[in-house]
Amino acid sequence: MSELIEKLEFFLADRGIYMLTLILFAVAVYGMIACGNYMKKLMCMNMMQVSIIFFFLTFGQKNGGTLPVAIDEVLSAEAYINPLPHALMLTAIVVSLGTTGVGLALLMRIKDIYGTIEEDRITGDGGKKQ
């Protein structure tokens, strides 16, 4: 038992965040599927994107590393955390913003047309059942 706890401790310290991000991802996907409200779906979608962003950023973490903004010309690679995931995730954030924006616009339009954003109440279901 104690051995198990020890293992778990080691695991959480070293890799726990992966677990958390992946669970967050799964929960978000689950929420997207389970929620009947389109707005909630959209929020879950955002959560999913955030979880991926966290996931990437954990790779770039370095013990003892600081922000990837050079202080001086003299550089050693260990002193700074990995800039690549940050750069990539900036792109991912912007992309997710764009997606969310489009999603919100669509929701507004749907609200205009159907008067609701509840999935059950939108009749004439867009092709799922016909």
Binding site: M19, F59, G60, V69, L75, L84, A105, L106
Partner: protein, 263 residues
């Protein structure tokens, strides 16, 4: 009752999902690199090149900016395009075939206090913030290579300044409004400026976005090449700023036009 039941179902599903993925994640996690380890492939291969060479090659102290604007500038171009595109799509979606009829502009004098947003007089105080945010936005834009920041943040800040100015309804209703189409054009000009910055080196024998070959009277000296990189990064940051600004303003105007906040 019914709702309660479905909620319980959802919760049960959630727990199952968490357990399942948690177990899977434990399994996978064991093979993922240790967090914080400097010797993982992710932290040592290409990343180290960026860290050790960014300042030398691009003169951008912010390595993230160097990666974003120079090494992977092509990604950023399309990232900007994504924003432009989302504004475009938002406009196209919300300006449906049957446009929502615009509310007639009300006579503000009639209903001064309820129409005014923070109170007629207080609204004035918002405006103190606008120039400060603007100058901060410009600061963020031009210090992207030294400090944190860059085109996206700067564009957002400048758009925010406009937003503040725009949603304050009192006194100057209808003045200084940027039409959503104009905003979109501004955004496209920003993105196009980025593209132009990328195309310029092609006239000088370089590849697309190869800042080292920008036709600004470069000599072969390493120093001037670094300067060209700085110039290139600055140019695309300006493009990004303009684009982001236009995008946010366009989306904002579209949304404002439809929702019509001021009853």
């Amino acid at each position: 009752m019914k709702e309660n039941k479905s909620r319980k179902k959802l919760a049960a599903g959630l727990i199952i999902v968490i357990i399942a993925v948690g177990t899977a994640a434990v399994k996978i996690g064991a093979f993922l690199p240790t967090i914080g380890d400097a010797d993982t492939p992710a932290n040592s291969y290409v990343a180290n090149y960026y860290i050790t060479n960014a300042v030398k090659e691009t003169h951008s102290y912010n390595i993230v900016t160097a990666v974003l604007a120079d090494y992977r500038g092509f990604d950023t171009l399309f990232e900007t395009c994504v924003l432009f595109l989302s504004a475009l799509v938002t406009m196209m979606v919300l300006f449906g075939k049957e446009k929502v009829p615009k509310m007639p502009v009300k006579n503000l004098a009639e209903d001064k206090y309820s129409a005014a947003f923070g109170g007629d007089i207080m609204d004035a105080s918002f405006r103190i913030v606008v120039p400060i945010i603007l100058i901060y936005g410009i600061y963020v834009l031009f210090h992207g290579e030294i400090s944190l920041g860059g085109g996206f943040q700067a564009g957002a800040l400048i758009a925010c300044a406009y937003l503040l100015d725009r949603i304050i309804p009192s006194i100057r209703m209808g003045r200084g409004k940027i039409k959503e189409e104009t905003a979109l054009i501004i955004a496209s000009m920003g993105a196009f400026f980025y593209v132009i910055t990328g195309i310029l080196p092609m006239f000088n024998g370089g590849n697309f976005l190869e800042f080292a070959k920008l036709p600004f009277g470069s000599s072969l000296a390493a120093e001037s090449i670094v300067k060209l990189h700085t110039a290139g990064i600055l140019m695309i940051e300006v493009g990004v700023t303009v684009c982001v600004m236009g995008v946010i303003i366009a989306i904002l105007e579209v949304v404002l036009e439809r929702t019509d906040f001021d009853e």
